[in-house]
């Protein structure tokens, strides 16, 4: 099949609150991915970084920062900002370079040292920034949006707080088996219920934390992979990077209001569903073919929404799918076998790359105790601020 690139290497810096700089996390992950690929940094023709903010102008940095830290060697460089989807769009940029023949081997790196507590916009009076406005005018943090989605699911689909808690129970059981995860402890439903309410109906243990962490991938052309003796590497078959379709009628972070549907009827698919749909179309693979999925469980309730948006079940049936055990280890379609953001926390530029690392290990059969048996096809899904969203499909 044309349009595929090989995943030769995957690597991470363990996630946590380490108190060091993002460059160190990124370089550690990059060296791990290069070692996994059996390549030297000098073999890399291009580096793509998922952006983070460094205090001080010009602020957004990535690709060249990692290249400098690894040692200038003249590689092509790019940096990608797409909020929470930055990592996946860095993968997309790397893949496009390979398919265009601009590079044989591309190193993709994302890393961050996240602030404590709530994410917040950059300083200054910036009323032209919707992210700044929602904090300034409404005090609407990320968890409040997750709370709105969760409450809406309860009202429309009959989801319960117990359903949400079971997502955490499931993901923490997987995170306990993942040496790269920040949280390595199994959590019970009682512990979720006993944690403080952050944004009704969601509690502290329903919402993912902020973390430090790094993740990296070494991608190459199929021809290069064959030359290096990798006869059946994990392959990336699709990367969707779609924008919403007007009118976007689901209230999205960081907006204060939706688009109006007064003049134009909304399309059948919501933005989140269109992210997965584009990947399925590009890959020629449907949800029924999946072995596993890694999705952005920024909140427990949001993971249930992704089940529906990925087409793993019908609309409103996410909680039912969870209750049946279909998305747990050993189930029909395990979701977030890595432990998810529930176990990792958010290191924004790294997390979409980390999802692809997990797919890589799973599809190789290298996931240890988290291994999904006979894994052949995996999808990742993520969504970031300002209309960014991506899904990556990998196959073996």
């Amino acid at each position: 099949m044309t349009g595929e690139v090989a995943v030769l290497g995957a690597g991470m810096h363990p996630w946590g609150k380490w108190g060091r700089g993002f460059v160190e996390y990124g370089v550690t992950a990059a060296r791990a991915a290069l070692a996994d690929a059996g390549l030297e940094w000098r073999d890399v023709g291009s580096i793509v970084g998922a952006d983070t903010v460094r205090g001080g102008y010009p602020g957004y940095v990535a690709g060249a920062t990692f290249a400098k830290a690894l040692g200038w060697q003249g590689a092509r460089v790019a940096s990608v900002y797409a909020a929470c989807a930055s990592g996946a769009q860095a993968v997309a940029a790397a893949r496009a370079q390979i398919l265009a023949g601009l590079a044989d081997v591309v190193l993709v790196v994302g890393a961050d040292a996240a602030p404590k507590g709530f994410f917040r916009p950059a300083g200054g009076d910036r009323p032209d920034d919707p992210d700044w406005l929602r904090f300034r005018v409404l005090g609407a943090t990320n968890p409040t949006y997750f709370g709105l989605y969760a409450r809406r699911r309860m009202a429309v689909h009959g989801d319960t707080s117990e359903d949400f808690a079971q997502v955490k129970v499931k993901n923490s059981a997987m995170g306990a088996l993942n040496p790269n995860a920040r949280y390595r402890k199994r959590v019970t439903a009682d512990e979720v219920a006993a944690s403080a309410v952050v944004a009704d109906p969601l509690r502290l243990l329903d919402i993912c934390a902020t973390s430090d962490g790094g993740a990296a991938l070494v991608l190459s052309s199929m021809e290069f992979a064959r030359r290096r003796g990798a006869t059946a590497p994990v392959r990336i078959r699709a990367v969707s990077t779609v924008t919403p379709t007007y009118p976007n009628t689901v209230l999205d972070l960081p907006d204060i209001a939706t688009d109006s549907a007064a003049a134009v009827e909304p399309t059948e698919r919501t933005f989140r569903a269109s992210i997965a749909h584009a990947a399925y179309q590009e890959a020629g693979i449907g949800p029924e073919d999946l072995s596993l999925a890694e999705v952005y469980d920024l909140s427990t309730a949001l993971e249930l929404q992704w089940y529906e948006d990925l087409g793993l079940c019908g609309e409103g049936e996410g909680a039912k799918l969870l209750r049946e055990g279909a998305t747990a280890a050993g189930g029909r379609i395990p979701v977030n076998m890595s432990g998810g953001l529930a176990s990792f926390g958010e290191a924004v530029p790294a997390q979409a790359i980390a999802q692809v690392c997990e797919l890589t290990w799973q599809l190789r059969g290298d996931a240890g105790q988290r291994q999904v048996e006979h894994a052949r096809v995996g999808i990742t899904a993520n969504q970031g601020l300002f209309g960014h969203g991506s899904a990556v499909m990998a196959v073996r």
């Binding site: 709530f118 916009p121 943090t141 944004a199 939706t258």
Partner: protein, 141 residues
């Protein structure tokens, strides 16, 4: 900060949006530069008042103090603040806002009717920052 987002007092308080003269798309917060409907060649964007009443699409609260640029007095204990996303039927739009002080999540259900009223976001001695709030209808306080 939010110049032209609302107008009036008391029962005359309304949110202000804009509407495209060609395709009739409505925008809030107001869009004054270009119509964002990709199927529209673009027309004049005229200011319009939004419906004063709508139905609760969803709601939540903020049990922890939001970070800046939200303005709060760190000397005072944080009082949880309720947020309501409201569906306006005529405009077919969902608008997020804070509830009036005293309304908690226990007072709300999805689908209940609310109306827009003026409120004070904060005062800094020189300036009173007015904002919009959602209040369940039938509640007067």
């Amino acid at each position: 900060m939010v110049t032209g987002w609302f107008t009036g007092d008391g029962d005359d308080f309304t949110l202000l949006g804009t509407r495209c003269s060609v395709c009739a798309s409505v925008f809030f917060p107001r869009e004054d530069a270009h119509c964002r409907n990709p199927g529209c060649a673009g027309g004049e964007l005229a200011e319009i008042p939004l419906s004063r009443r709508g139905r609760v699409w969803s709601y939540t609260d903020s049990r922890y103090r939001p970070p800046s640029p939200y303005v709060t007095d760190p000397e005072l204990p944080w009082e949880p603040c309720t947020l309501i996303a409201v569906e306006l039927a005529a405009e077919r739009i969902v608008v997020l806002g804070q509830a009036v002080p005293g309304v908690t999540v226990a007072d709300l259900t999805v689908g209940a009717e609310v109306e827009v009223v003026p409120g004070v976001l904060h005062e800094d001695g020189e300036t009173v920052f007015t904002t919009w709030r959602w209040r369940p209808t039938g509640v007067t306080a």
